[in-house]
């Protein structure tokens, strides 16, 4: 009976050691690049589409962690990643000015839209973004905000500012969800209210509801609603261990013709999402 106990122990330990080997084996690879990015690039599947092409063209194995822009910048500042792909230009410029990042290059943009109930009781359809926000405030229509310091949230705050309106932090009609984009859209729909979203998430939302969404696009196309994505290499002077050369190589590739075409051809549920605009 003692022997049976021993055998079970041996099996347990063997399994444990095998697992240990597995994870140790995967740990070391030469051309691995760690990227912090925003949820939108990951959730839309753009990076899943680009990663194999990157490997093919440059030999770089791209690994990314998708978070909010705030945390992505923080990860860069703490030297935990080698490169960033984010969409909050003022914060990015400050990041570079502070010496944390170098070689910031714009690669593409998508746009934000204001969505709301088809009945549009506030009557903002087709107006400029500035007018839309002014009307929403005047009518005290329910407006769902991410409220999570994400790139989208930062964009929204900048729009209030651009419209010369104070951010209605404490108004009862201004709902701060603190959740992801899709959850925020769902909350806006439940409350029969308005919200601002990136187009990619809206396409998904539309698809989830089999092309019959409760909330429709009411305001779009305004220059202020464009959402610029950039890549930034981590400054090797700030982080000695950052793989600057590899990051640089990736930046060259992604701003090159091949990658720009791939971005242009990338569609979500048959609809194009990103417009490449890298300056070559």
């Amino acid at each position: 009976m003692y022997r049976a106990t021993n055998r079970i122990w041996i099996i347990f330990i063997t399994v444990f050691v095998i697992f240990a080997f597995f994870s140790a084996a995967g740990a070391e690879q030469d051309k691995v690049l760690m990227m912090a990015t925003t949820t939108s690039t990951d959730n839309t599947g753009l990076l899943d589409c680009l990663a194999p092409k990157i490997k093919e063209a440059t030999g770089i194995e791209l690994r990314w962690t998708a978070t909010g822009t705030g945390k992505a910048l923080k990860l860069g500042e703490n030297c935990d990643v080698d490169i960033l792909m984010v969409h909050a230009p003022p914060a990015e410029q400050k990041f570079v000015a502070d010496g944390f990042g170098v070689d910031r290059r714009e690669i593409m943009y998508n746009d934000f839209v204001i969505i709301g109930p088809a009945t549009d009781e506030a009557g903002i359809k087709g107006t400029s973004i500035k007018d839309a926000l002014t009307i929403l405030k005047a009518k005290q229509a329910v407006f769902a905000s991410r409220g999570d310091n994400s790139g989208t949230h930062k964009k929204e705050l900048s729009l209030w500012k651009a419209a010369n309106l104070p951010v209605p932090e404490k108004e009862s009609w201004y709902v701060q969800t603190g959740q992801g984009m899709l959850a925020t859209i769902n909350i806006a729909a439940e409350r029969n209210g308005y919200t601002m979203t990136d187009r990619g998430t809206y396409i998904k939302y539309e698809d989830n509801l089999k092309g019959n969404p409760a909330l429709k696009i009411l305001v779009e196309g305004d220059a202020a609603l464009l959402n610029q994505y950039s890549v930034i290499a981590i400054n090797p002077k700030h982080c000695s261990e950052a793989k600057y050369d590899t990051a640089k190589q990736l930046i060259e590739w992604i701003t090159g013709a091949e990658a720009q075409q791939l971005i242009k051809d990338f569609t979500l549920l048959g609809k194009p999402l990103f417009i490449p605009n890298a300056k070559m």
């Binding site: 106990t5 079970i8 399994v15 444990f16 697992f19 240990a20 597995f22 994870s23 995967g26 740990a27 760690m34 949820t39 990951d42 959730n43 899943d48 690994r63 990314w64 962690t65 998708a66 978070t67 990860l75 703490n78 030297c79 935990d80 992801g180 984009m181 899709l182 959850a183 998430t201 998904k204 939302y205 989830n208 982080c239 261990e241």
Partner: protein, 229 residues
């Protein structure tokens, strides 16, 4: 509602078709939870056993601290471990951030109070006469220790299962320390969070069911062991 049923079918499909992403997440989850449960049992059982077995000053205070730590929020542990493992943190040089061992460290911290607390309770609720019985049959100190440990195995096992459940299902640490990196540190729970964010509720349900299936297998084998020993 229909995404729940859809998720059920999808779960079967994922497992049957050998979906590489799903299996990568399963392997990551099982690996990291085995690591963390292994470490926390290795550290926690002796510590919990001593906490329950010996009487000393400040024992009650330690119990209170351990019981309080059982309520540690996973996101908080994640943040704490991140602070240590980030390249600018005290342990940054080991390069453990965004790795499975990094997650395992956090999960060990999560499981440890549960293992310690429940082992201590198991040992405390052990019959006082057991020590007399073992000693009267001629055990030395070491044999007394190990036999007492073996006698409290059922209670300790219950603690281990509770800890395993907590470790398998947590998402805060895996997300914060692991970074949800595809093919590497994406566990089932972080994958669920991602799929939910993407609006793929059905996929989220499917992955949840896969997690349940793993937990079911673990519990089946544990109850088989319990019946035999």
């Amino acid at each position: 509602m229909d995404f729940i049923f859809e998720g059920f079918l999808q779960a079967l499909n994922l497992l049957a078709s050998g979906n590489a992403e799903t299996y990568s997440a399963i392997i990551a989850t099982v690996t990291v939870s085995s690591y963390s449960i292994g470490c926390s049992l290795l550290i926690g059982i002796p510590f919990g056993f001593c906490l329950g077995y010996f009487d000393f000053n400040g024992k009650k205070s330690i119990r209170t601290v351990v019981d309080t730590l059982m309520a540690l929020p996973t996101v908080f542990i994640g943040l704490l471990v991140y602070a240590f493992l980030t390249h600018r943190g005290p342990l940054g040089n080991f390069g453990l951030l965004f790795t499975l061992p990094g997650i395992a460290i956090g999960q060990t911290i999560l499981a440890l109070p549960i293992v310690i607390g429940l082992s201590a309770t198991a040992v405390e609720s052990m019959d006082q006469k057991l020590g007399v019985t073992i000693m009267s049959l001629g055990a030395n100190r070491r044999q007394l220790f190990f036999s007492s440990l073996w006698e409290s195995r059922h209670g300790i096992l219950a603690g281990a299962i509770a800890a395993y459940g907590r470790v398998m299902t947590e998402v805060g640490i895996s997300m914060m320390v692991g970074g949800n990196i595809k093919w590497h540190t994406r566990t089932i729970t972080t994958a669920i969070a991602l799929e939910t964010n993407k609006g793929q509720f059905g996929m989220g349900v499917a992955l949840g069911l896969v997690l349940l299936a793993i937990a079911f297998c673990v519990n089946i084998s544990v109850s088989f062991l319990r019946r035999r020993y």
